[in-house]
């Protein structure tokens, strides 16, 4: 099945990109709190091409989840536009599947019924949807746990159930908000491999939000780096590493080079974030 020759990933074309399936165009999100207004996302613009794996990285609190919710159609931006296949979105788009940062399995459904949920909603017959769900459960390595309830699973397994549930709906565009954040490093790497493998077989356009540099470099074709407060586009880094990839790529020199490059960008942001947090803590006491 898999092609043994290394396929070079297409280099980005500069201006007009007809093949982009998702565009984020000048998105601005401002939250009005009781006594202040917070700009969570400040004029973010980028696009995602068909079949591409793109990561958005930035320090905690920089507006990643806000951006995720805007692209998913759950938050209406203050200004700007998100388009899917050229159409501006209003509300959740059927082509987009979301995996949330927070634990989001339904505790009253078994693993299999959780995964079959999107199909059930669409009115797929019980037999067909359970069969399909079984396949996806196997894909994320949870065979044998179909009848378990989320409370009987570990955090990492539950996260896999959430991913499987979204995969079962076969979204053309997969959005994931730090799906591995709660996991230990080993599980994270293995699950990352798994997701990449699935993404390659399904040729799924994927946008991953993360704060892990290694994760971003390991998985992505391009990495969108965000700045801290307000969340602005700092840089887009092309990751020109061979495909198919596994976590083994992490030992290569090129990998280290990319990590160092992105860390260089993020270090300023992260330290600025920490300084700001400390200053506001100092101001309060």
């Amino acid at each position: 099945m898999s092609d043994p020759t290394v396929v070079p990933w297409p280099r980005p074309v500069s201006a007009a990109r007809p093949e982009s399936v998702l565009t984020v165009d000048d998105i601005l999100v401002r939250f009005q709190t009781r006594d202040a207004s917070v700009t969570a996302v400040d004029r973010m613009t980028f696009d995602v091409r068909h079949g591409e794996f793109i990561s958005v990285i930035g320090p905690s609190g920089c507006g990643k989840s806000t951006l995720f919710n805007v692209i998913g159609g759950l938050i209406t931006p203050t200004s700007g536009l998100v388009t899917v296949a050229g159409e501006p979105i209003r509300g959740p788009h059927p082509a987009i599947g979301m995996v949330f940062q927070e634990e989001s399995t339904f505790p009253w459904r078994t693993v299999l019924d959780n995964v079959a949920f999107p199909l059930e909603v669409r009115g797929v017959s019980r037999r067909v949807r359970l069969e399909k769900a079984r396949d996806v459960v196997a894909m994320v390595g949870l065979t044998g746990f179909e009848g378990h309830y989320p409370s009987e699973l570990s955090g990492g397994m539950r996260q896999r159930v959430s991913i499987a549930r979204t995969l079962a709906s076969e979204p053309k565009i997969l959005l994931m908000d730090e799906p591995f954040a709660a996991l230990d490093e080993q599980t994270r790497l293995l699950l990352g491999d798994k997701v990449l493998q699935i993404q390659q077989t399904l040729k799924q356009t994927t946008l991953l939000i993360t704060h892990s540099i290694t994760e971003a470099v390991q998985l992505s074709d391009r990495v969108v780096v965000m700045s801290y407060r307000p969340g602005r586009l700092k840089r887009i880094v092309d990751i020109d590493l061979p495909h198919p990839r596994t976590s083994e790529i992490m030992t290569s020199d090129a990998f280290g080079h990319y990590v160092a490059e992105i860390w260089g960008d993020l270090r300023d942001e992260a330290s600025r974030g920490m300084a700001e947090a400390e200053a506001s803590r100092g101001a309060r006491t």
Binding site: G72, G91, F106
Partner: protein, 253 residues
Amino acid sequence: MSISRADHAPALVGAATLLGLFALLELAIRAGLVDRYVVPPPSDVVASFARIVTEEDIPHRFAQTALEGLGAAVLIALVGIPAGLLLYRHMVLRVAVQSWVAALAAAPLVLAYPLFLVIFGRSAMTIVMMGFISGVAPVTLKTLEGLSATRRVLIDVGRSLKLTPAQQFRLVLLPAAVPTIFVGLRLGLVFALINIVGLEFLINFGGLGQLINELAERYDLAGTYAAIAFVVLVSVLFFLALERTERWLRPGR
């Protein structure tokens, strides 16, 4: 094997505790620490069971009180849960009436029984309505609380999958709120049963409450306590049924 034993353990400990307390009471009464004309010895109460069952038509009375309880419970669920949903959906309504409903939950409604007598007559209907009115408020409040406490992210999962409002309610909000709604139903049922038996006692009508009234007036203390045991049995049955229903509606705790 060990699992089934663990399942029975709480019930066994519970029964043993109860028996132990009765034994202590029995001893205290026999030793003269407690006046036997205020609290009859448990052994007398047990001995009087057969008598009141045959002579006082317990099966019939038991059924009457249980059916009144069931009627009130069904009404409470049918009105209380939709009312909670209505308050959840309409912010204005919630702000406007939530504190009234809370006040209703705390009011000694049984004092309004003459009004019910006038409206419904001296009938089972009066008793069912009294039970319903006194138990509906906690169900409405707890339904509202449960729906409001549904985790944001679960609602977002539904939204991202473009669920219709009806699907969102049936597949996400309701199951998420079931545990809290059942807390409300338990509370509501307790209030309803207290008021049902209390009203039977007050208006001297129908089921176990009336029997307790009669036996007390005859100074049949052992019989009175035995009749109270049947009231307890009614509520135990209701609680078991509720527990079953909850586990059926909301597996995977």
